[in-house]
């Protein structure tokens, strides 16, 4: 069994929770569908997004330098980091020079990727997550299970119990409005007392030297409103040419992510307020290597909207923690493989090859096709699952030889059911084997027992 299947079995042990998780995400997907269908030029927008990203990726050096030049002229300070360690070191250095012990953070998958929060903790700097879902996960000491909906797998009663412990809310009260407003009050204190703010970057606009941060809660905006230091970290693929491109992406992002026509706040940072500083750290950490990978460089077009997760039948029914890479779903399977096939190869089987992800991706990334390609590559590298390989080989022989095939079918129909419908057959976990018909279709057809469609009379 793959690492994914094993972990999924654990998630599926709680059947109610698994069914609820599946439903909750499907609702998000349905909202996305309604939004997509309400925009007449939706498919044109997706194509445009894909083309803009491909264009930018093919001139990435040019656009990054242009962004740096313009951002610097606007008064920001730009840094370059080759890998996770370098990013953490640079952030640590900025914090040290500025002074301060409390950093308020808005959601950033890059900081997760680089392990920034534990690094800062070692330096004696506390990083507090301010997005509600991220904060819930931070207080639970667990990673997010979805890139846009970090606490999608957590039930309201669990949040109630957590907040009762951490924020002294009323015992037994798990009303989402009550809990959200309790967190608002509590985090407001953090916002007021933080010395440093940190955000991710959704889009860095090369021609203007500005960058966009998109949230619904306003946590990034409030976070950057009080302290005099703002550190923004970005993967180098986040750069786009201009505002015309930004407009295309903002029309797609929230519709794809949560089924809203736009995020509540699409904030553009261009010039620090007098007496304040904005630092932007541009991070590579393996991205240039992915760009060299012709078969898989498409992954760098990703906007991190999460639509591929919400639509994925495997993700919805196995949960974010069933994947061994920190990003789950079709996106995570692919990014994990780009990071290390040896470490994350166990995820590629978590895909039914339905290709729904490829059809919803606003940047038209061929996620499903790439997972298929990884499976072929894994076989060539000799890391494919031996049990599955054996099965496929047997099927291959069986299907190529008519006589053998029909004998096998006959045998199966005559054999007592327990021979194949048992717990040693992995296919039977959570489902019943279908019954084999007494007589095959082929047999029925040949003996004339199937009505032939009548020829039309002229």
């Amino acid at each position: 069994m793959s690492t994914h299947a094993k972990a999924a079995a654990k998630f599926l042990a709680d059947r109610d929770r698994a069914a609820w998780h599946d439903r909750a995400l499907y609702l998000v997907r349905e909202k996305r569908d309604r939004m997509a269908h309400s925009v007449p030029e939706w498919e044109t927008l997706r194509q445009a997004a894909s083309d803009i990203k491909l264009h930018t990726l093919s001139h990435l050096g040019h656009y990054l330098e242009q962004f740096e030049r313009n951002a610097t002229a606007n008064g920001m300070i730009v840094h370059w980091a080759e890998d996770a360690e370098a990013m953490n070191r640079i952030v640590g250095q900025i914090v040290r020079e500025h002074g301060g012990r409390k950093l308020v953070k808005s959601k950033s998958m890059l900081s997760e990727e680089c392990g920034l929060t534990p690094y800062l903790a070692e330096q004696g700097v506390e990083a507090v997550e301010s997005d509600l879902g991220e904060r819930i996960m931070q207080l639970m000491h667990r990673p997010p299970s979805h890139i846009v909906l970090p606490a999608i797998h957590v039930r309201r009663e669990e949040v109630g119990a957590l907040f009762e412990r951490e924020m002294a809310t009323e015992p037994g009260n798990s009303d989402p409005t009550y809990l959200t407003h309790a967190a608002r009050k509590c985090l407001r204190e953090t916002f007021r007392t933080a010395d440093i703010s940190m955000t991710g970057v959704n889009f860095a606009i090369a021609a203007e030297g500005s960058f966009a941060v998109c949230t619904n809660e306003g946590n990034a905006d409030l976070g950057t409103s009080f302290p005099d230091l703002h550190i923004a970290i970005m993967g180098l693929e986040k750069v786009i040419p201009d505002y015309a491109s930004l407009a295309v992406f903002t029309r797609l992002l929230a519709r794809s992510a949560t089924g809203q026509p736009v995020t509540t706040y699409t904030s553009l940072y261009r010039r620090p307020e007098p007496g304040k500083e904005i630092h932007v750290v541009i991070v590579d950490n393996g991205r240039t290597e992915s760009l060299c990978n012709e078969a898989h460089r498409n992954m760098l077009k990703c906007l991190r909207c999460g639509a591929c997760m919400n639509t994925c039948p495997v993700y919805r029914r196995s949960g974010g923690y069933s994947y061994s890479y920190f990003i789950p779903g079709p996106l995570g399977i692919n990014l994990g493989m780009l990071r290390s096939p040896e470490r994350y190869g166990g995820n590629v089987s978590g895909c039914s090859l339905c290709y729904s992800c490829s059809n919803v991706c606003p940047a038209r990334i061929d996620l499903g096709e790439q997972i298929y390609a990884w499976r072929q590559e894994m076989d060539a590298d000799g890391v494919a699952d031996p049990q599955k390989k054996m099965m496929v080989k047997t099927m291959n022989v069986l299907m190529r030889h008519k006589g053998l095939f029909y004998t096998a079918i006959k045998g199966a129909a005559l054999a007592p059911r327990f021979v194949y419908n048992n717990r040693f057959n992995p296919w039977c976990a959570g489902r019943e084997m279908p019954r084999f018909a007494r007589r095959s279709f082929n047999e029925l057809w040949k003996s004339g027992m199937i009505d032939q469609p009548k020829k039309e009379e002229k």
Binding site: V39, I52, L54, N216, E217, T264, R270, D284, C292, E294
Partner: protein, 196 residues
């Protein structure tokens, strides 16, 4: 070689074929009544839309919206403010039971967002108060985000600016929608006479 040089060198060796920048001249969503669509979109995002009738004073207009004048923080001419946000040294003083009254420039019919470039000393003005009122000239309403950034009133020389649609919200607890996550709990867009 420093990090930047190394990254740029690796990028130049990516072997990625040249892709042209697409021409973004495709037909965009059209609205027969952009103001009505804008109003709908703002309401769908949890905000409300009001009008500022001619001949009505700022104080009367705000009072008719149920806003207590003693809470008003604003630097907009014609708005009676209890507090001038630009007189405040520490942006934290803008936090609390206050109503910010600010100016928006463009409204987007497809999603109810209002483009608000920073026109105050502290950007905290737009996020820290509990309530925000955005004054928007009626003729500032455009169809889509693409129309907004192409509009000449979208002046690129800002320090900070925000496309804001509705009050702050979250659905992080069991996907139940709750207004007032961290930013303002309430948002009103007041449509004003066309800008001169």
């Amino acid at each position: 070689m420093d990090a930047k040089q190394k990254i740029l060198q690796r990028l130049s060796q990516s072997g990625m074929p040249e892709h042209p920048m697409p021409v973004l001249d495709f037909e965009r969503e059209h609205f027969d009544d952009p103001v009505a669509s804008f109003r709908q979109a703002v309401e769908a995002s949890g905000g409300r839309v009001a009008e500022w009738p001619d001949g009505v004073s700022g104080a009367e207009m705000l009072t008719s919206l149920g806003i207590e004048l003693s809470r008003v923080v604003s630097n907009v001419t014609g708005i009676p403010a209890a507090l001038d946000p630009d007189e405040v040294e520490d942006p934290r003083e803008l936090d609390g039971e206050k109503t910010a009254v600010v100016e928006g420039v463009l409204g987007v019919a497809e999603n109810g967002a209002v483009w608000i470039p920073q026109r105050a000393r502290h950007k905290a003005l737009y996020f820290a108060p509990e309530e925000i009122v955005v004054l928007l000239p009626r003729d500032g309403i455009v169809a889509t985000m693409q129309d907004a950034v192409a509009d000449e009133r979208f002046n690129r020389d800002f320090g900070f600016g925000c496309f804001m649609s509705g009050p702050s919200k979250t659905a992080d607890i069991e996907q139940a929608l709750v207004f007032g996550a961290h930013g303002p709990m309430k948002l009103t867009v007041v449509l004003c006479r066309d800008a001169e």
